[in-house]
Amino acid sequence: MRFQLAALSLRRHASRTLLAVLGVAVSAAMLLDMVMLATGMRQSFASLLGRNGFTIRVSPRGTLPFDTEAMIGQAHQATDAIRRIAGVTAVAPVLGTTIHVLGGRGPATAFALGVDPAVQGDYQLLEGQNPAANALVASDALLRATGARMGDTLDVAVGFDPQLRTFTGRRRVIVAGRARFTYLSADDRAAALPLASVQAMGGAGRSDRVSLFMVRTAPNVDPEATRVAIERVLPRVTALSTAGAIAEAERRLSYFRQLAFILGAVSLIVGFLLVTTIVTVSVNERIGEIAIMRAIGVSRIHVVHQIVIEGVGLSLAGAAAGLLLGVFTARWLNSILRGFPGLPDAIDFFLFQPNSAFRALALLVASGIAAGIYPAWRAASLPISATLREEAVG
């Protein structure tokens, strides 16, 4: 009968109950979104980095991959040195540069990667073949910008001399394939060519140089130990494990984690305050009824149960509505943050993870329980006769 009484009490002031549920729902949605934000970036980034099985990135000392235009010289020697380290199963060299695609609709600039197609981890082939010498694979954005199609020949260059207004490092290449570039956004114009081609086109400035190595290790090997070994054999590089890269990304985006924590805490407090207020006012309105229940023999703890059930009911209904609202608002907020320039397509800021989500909402419901306890206990502990007398006079 306690559940029935609680439900009837909530229905008694339907508009008030509805508003309270709505308020709790918005708090729950905000809390859920902040939990998704706090964990989403890390999960999403970790998933992106681990996608092709490369556990270590090697870049010029003191820099992060593609953070500057610094390069690693004596790339062949470096490749061999890394391959000789126990536990290393593959080494993928990458050279980043800008290319200009000439002719057709006019020069189009794109980001180009010189890779070893046999061990690359930068793109996923959608159509066609990996690039051989004098061929490239292109992103859809580049193909649209140049009007090129599979099999077309493009005139590309890696440099531009502004004094002479001429393009340098020119070569004619065939569009061998269409690809989705893992670490770039869908709107980025990008191409991948064989490493040797890009180095040759770059002239002396890029001979035997790379921007980055991606390293794959055996499953039972500790990437951290391999990372340390790489830095030992190659003092001129910085090796970053996936965990280290995630930590660095989190450091740079620490603002969002802190915002998520603060807003999440505020949402929890607001939800708690709302339920406390509703329950307190509801109890104050029914002091006389509560005294009667005590007078006819309903125990204090059962009175508290009934009132706490009301608080839990509000919180549960609000949490359920908040779950739906939270998923919807997370999509909206995620679409805003995905507007960051250059953000890889695979990165999401808000990621729904059932365990984290339900833990957060359970916390909100628990706060609903706590919110009801104090006003309920206070009301159930009032002296019965005095309360009845005051209610009679009132």
Binding site: L19, G62, R165, V270, W332
Partner: protein, 283 residues
């Protein structure tokens, strides 16, 4: 782009625009000198007068031996906030020699007398130049600000959600407060007090609470923004101000909270005044 071991902005001495906070008088300089940023000085334990070797690539044993003649504080540039790179300022020729760049630069920054002079200079440069293009600084600012446009949109979205939550909470509380006093209102109505008077009384109270609340909120906003600035200036080691409260922000916030508070009061008062007095008594 310039690509030495550490990022360097090679400027002629007269064009230094960073704040020099510690320096040696020029007549005491004997070798080539550089200015380093505060962050590098702290992290590497460097001081004015120290000798360092600059190299274009890591691991090179030899390079350019220079003396640190100044430690500078960076400007509050939002686009540099999340980057943890160090900066060195040196004479243009020295950097060109160091990295083998020859007689080349990446860009010029041009100062003009004013708006009209800037536009005409822009036109003349673009008419004469070959192989490069001049842009007004504000266009560059727009391009480099795209990240912050996204952050602003995100903040606005969070703000909208917060406003919806606050409005719901406020309406709930106003209804509760009004419900608590329904018997008093019922007694007043039975005595002959008009509906309009009841509504005015409730509206006056809600306006007062909204005004007090908004003033308190503005005060709290100042305190929180001071804390936010202090915190993130420490985290990112930058003089950049992350939260700025402008007169416009204050006006908007106060007006919005007044509208929400008075609106909630109006809704609650309307509900109360429309209920017959005997119903308010529970009969």
């Amino acid at each position: 782009m310039l690509a030495p071991l550490v990022m360097a902005l090679a400027l002629t001495p007269d064009a230094l625009c960073a704040q020099r906070i510690d320096s040696i008088p020029p007549w005491r300089v004997a070798v080539r000198t550089v200015a380093i940023d505060e962050r590098l000085a702290v992290d590497a334990g460097l001081r004015v007068g120290d000798m360092v070797v600059l190299a274009a690539e890591p691991g090179r044993a030899s390079g350019d031996t220079v003396r640190i003649s100044a430690i500078v504080r960076r400007r509050a540039d939002p686009s540099e906030v999340a980057r943890s790179e160090y900066r060195i300022r040196m004479h243009l020729g020295g950097l060109q020699d160091l990295i083998g760049y020859g007689d080349r630069v990446d860009r010029y920054a041009i100062a003009t007398a004013g708006g009209v002079a800037a536009d005409s200079a822009l036109r003349r440069i673009n008419a004469l130049a070959f192989g490069f293009h001049a842009y007004p600084s504000r266009e560059i600012a727009v391009e480099t600000s795209k990240t912050f446009v996204v952050v602003s949109r995100f903040h606005r979205a969070i703000g909208m959600i917060t406003i919806v939550a606050s409005a719901t909470f406020l309406l709930c509380i106003m209804l509760l407060k009004v419900d608590e006093r329904r018997r008093d209102v019922a007694a007043m109505r039975l005595m002959g007090i008009s509906r309009a008077t009841v509504v005015r009384a409730v509206m006056l109270e809600s306006s007062f609470v909204a005004l007090l609340g908004s003033l308190f909120g503005v005060g709290l906003g100042f305190v929180v923004s001071a804390f936010v600035n202090a915190h993130y200036q420490g985290v990112y080691r930058t003089p950049l101000r992350f939260a700025i409260i402008t007169p416009g922000t204050v006006t908007y916030s106060v007006l919005l909270s007044l509208v929400l508070g008075i609106g909630a009061g109006a809704l609650a008062a309307r509900r109360l005044s429309r209920t017959p007095p005997l119903t308010l008594f529970g009969r």
